[in-house]
């Protein structure tokens, strides 16, 4: 019994593709359009990032110009905390004690936080 073989010369081509007319514009139009859109995007991006960087520069220079003021504020706070600390120590121990064996002012590495936060 002959086996079920393909016909001599093989099967004919199968029509699987639908031959429907192309819709829309030509592909080159879409390609050019996309690049125009991207060009607009890069134009806006260029100006946007330039402005952002300019604002950052302004921010840093603004901070640099008020640096002495900020430093003074910080020092004032430091002094206030230092004297408060000394007073607290005196109240607790009765006398001021020295932690370090030096006359130099040692910046404290700790900070007191109130037990009850009022704000």
């Amino acid at each position: 019994m002959p086996q079920d073989m393909p016909p001599v010369g093989g099967y004919g081509p199968v029509q699987y593709k639908r031959n429907i007319p192309a819709r829309g514009f030509r592909p080159i139009t879409y390609l050019v359009g996309m690049h125009l859109l991207m060009g607009y995007g890069y134009y806006k991006l260029f100006h946007g990032i330039r402005e952002q960087n300019e604002l950052a520069r302004e921010k840093v220079w603004g901070r640099l110009h008020i640096l002495p003021l900020l430093q003074a504020e910080e020092d004032r706070d430091q002094v206030r905390r230092h004297f408060a600390d000394k007073a607290r120590e005196k109240e607790l121990l009765g006398s001021e004690s020295k932690v370090y064996n030096t006359e130099r002012f040692v910046r404290p590495t700790f900070v007191y936080t109130p037990t009850k936060v009022t704000q």
């Binding site: 991207m38 991006l45 100006h47 921010k59 901070r63």
Partner: protein, 352 residues
């Protein structure tokens, strides 16, 4: 009190996220129904709106069946890991100006990390079920997720080049000049294809191909643990759409050029001190914008699912490694040249 507030904050994001997941499922069924000229669910609630809740109730009340030979702990742990990690990604999303759980400076990195960890849940669930279909499904899913993660993270790298910050809010705010959709249009397409593959959606849903594997890695999961997988899948779809709109469509920024409209109106009337001006200011960074953009992207997800037939697994892999990856790598070479050539290396400084 502070802990209570932070728990409430978390719930304020997670509960609406889960609700939106419920409505996304019903939206998908309705949209696909109308694309296939049928009605879709229309009995429970008005217009079938409560169908998702009825389904969830049914699934929760069902008896769950665990395979006797399964590793029970991992079998239940898998869906839980997947759900938790797909919900954790919501915590760094800015929903509007000032509306966020966490203003994390490495937010995007966190989102990437958390979304990659969700892969482990799928791997565990598929392996522990002790079923060939589940195992094959989880292997496919893991291979697919790892491959497409590469595309997504490379595209994110290029977005970072234009923002100079991993902070999600900074990324949104730096699109005030122009949405990254315009300069990075081809990358948006690549990222969108990558996100469809990353969420295991049709036409890339090889992990749960019903014609080959019964239901992929969740073949053996039933009742309430199946709900976990279901929620996780849709939560990650919504999240990746949110990520798409944040990275390319400007997140919560308005799509309408409001300042242009104001300038035109100011030619004829004085609107600067009217309620119209206040409304425009409010719209310019309203959560509604993010919602609209995300809803549109989710619609495209559904549209794609209704339109395209499922591709073969080797085609899926070759699209990733031989088509998308070369495009992205070419961009990785090109973009620094553009940024350096135009002299627009972005500077972000935060001073207290």
């Amino acid at each position: 009190m502070i802990y209570l507030i932070s728990v409430l904050e978390g719930l304020l994001v997670i509960v609406p996220a889960l609700l939106s997941v419920a409505f996304v499922t019903i939206a998908e069924r309705k949209t696909m129904a109308s694309m296939q000229r049928r009605l879709g669910p229309n009995v429970v609630g008005y217009y079938g709106l409560l169908q998702a809740f009825a389904d969830a109730l049914k699934l929760l009340l069902k008896e769950y069946v665990a395979p006797t030979q399964a590793n029970i702990i991992l079998f239940f742990l898998g869906p839980i890991i997947t759900l938790i990690f797909s919900l954790l990604g919501y915590l760094t999303v800015p929903f509007g100006s000032g509306l966020f759980i966490s203003d994390y400076s490495l937010g995007l990195l966190y989102m990437l990390a958390v979304s990659s960890l969700a892969t482990y849940g799928i791997l565990l669930a598929g392996w522990s079920a002790n079923s060939k279909y589940a195992f094959l499904g989880s292997l496919r899913s893991t291979a697919q997720l790892i491959s497409y993660e590469l595309i997504l993270s490379s595209v994110i790298l290029l977005v970072l080049l234009l923002t100079g910050s991993l902070n999600v809010i900074t990324i949104v705010e730096s699109q005030r000049a122009v949405n990254f959709l315009f300069p990075l249009f081809p990358l948006f397409l690549v990222f969108f294809i990558g996100s469809i593959a990353e969420t295991n959606r049709a036409p890339f849903d090889l992990a749960e191909a019903e014609s080959e594997l019964v239901s992929g890695f969740m073949t053996e999961h039933s009742a309430s643990i199946f709900v976990f997988f279901f929620l996780a899948e849709y939560a990650s779809i919504v999240l990746i759409c949110v990520l798409n709109s944040i990275l390319f469509l400007g997140g919560y920024l308005s799509i309408i050029p409001l300042d242009l409209i104001l300038n035109v109106l100011n030619l004829f009337f004085d609107v600067n001190n009217t309620i119209l001006y206040d409304i425009f200011v409010h719209i310019s960074s309203s959560p509604l914008n993010l919602a609209l953009k995300t809803a549109f992207l989710i619609f495209v997800f559904i549209w794609v699912r209704a339109s395209f037939p499922r591709i073969r697994f080797d085609q899926l892999m070759s699209v990733c490694w031989t088509v998308l990856l070369p495009i992205v790598i070419a961009y990785v070479v090109l973009m620094p040249c553009i940024v350096y050539g135009l002299g627009i290396i972005p500077i972000n400084i935060s001073l207290l």
